[in-house]
Symmetry: C2
Subunit: 112 residues, 2 copies
DNA sequence: CAAGCTACCTTGCGTCACAAGGTATTCATG
DNA sequence: CATGAATACCTTGTGACGCAAGGTAGCTTG
């Protein structure tokens, strides 16, 4: 039925998810599970652990975040992620690009 | 260098491209090459033929567009694409979803 | 007739979201 | 003290898709 729409939603989320994670980390450091719980409730973005953890790995390999282990009094140890200066710079570049793309996208279809 | 950013750009474009094509077709029918020439000039979206033609195939299979061949006085025959009622309906659904997602995305990072 | 534009399409590669499944820790309940 | 639930981490397999590169064919111009 709306098979096409479902696939499209998955595609649109790509990239937006990364942006939201970087934005969230720009406020303060978070641990993975915390990010899942928070961002899975954002309307339109159904973040799951299977998406998040590989993503965080990539961000770390790319040097955009650093990690820090901290033991928790109530549960397993938490891995905290925080933005590096390079991560902050990339975030700003992404914001600029997305604004441009959104402006362009909104204008598509306005020409006869 | 900005390898991560380049990959991210590719991901963000996914989905947006489909939306823009449907929006363009909502105005009037177009042929493939025309779409490439037009949308490749939209800032932020580097549409190429290798992206477009498989995409149009998927849209046709999904029943969102129909095709029509028309001979051209100056060159090979053109394949015109036009939106079906189902395509128009899907476009509207996509617009609604994207607005929701954009609103959500903008608010991420505003909480302490 | 050769070059170049128009116009279509395919192949191969790499990236990534997501579902599903796995492990370990802590705490509450019977 | 066993059992379940919640917290918290991670991996594997699958499928979708953008994109570079390359291919075919028609028409026009020098």
């Amino acid at each position: 039925m709306s098979d096409f729409f479902d696939n499209w939603v998955v595609q649109v989320r790509k990239g937006v998810i990364e942006l939201c994670i970087l934005r969230t980390l720009a406020v303060r450091e978070r641990y993975g599970y915390e990010l899942v719980k928070e961002l899975s409730q954002v309307p339109g973005m159904g973040l799951t652990e299977g998406t998040l953890y590989p993503l965080m790995s990539r961000l770390r390999l790319a040097g955009l975040v650093t990690t820090r282990l901290e033991e928790s009094a109530s549960g397993p140890a938490r891995k905290y992620y925080s933005l590096t200066p390079e991560g902050l710079h990339t975030l700003k570049t992404m914001n600029v690009f997305l604004e441009t793309l959104q402006r362009s996208t909104q204008q598509v279809g306005d020409r006869s």
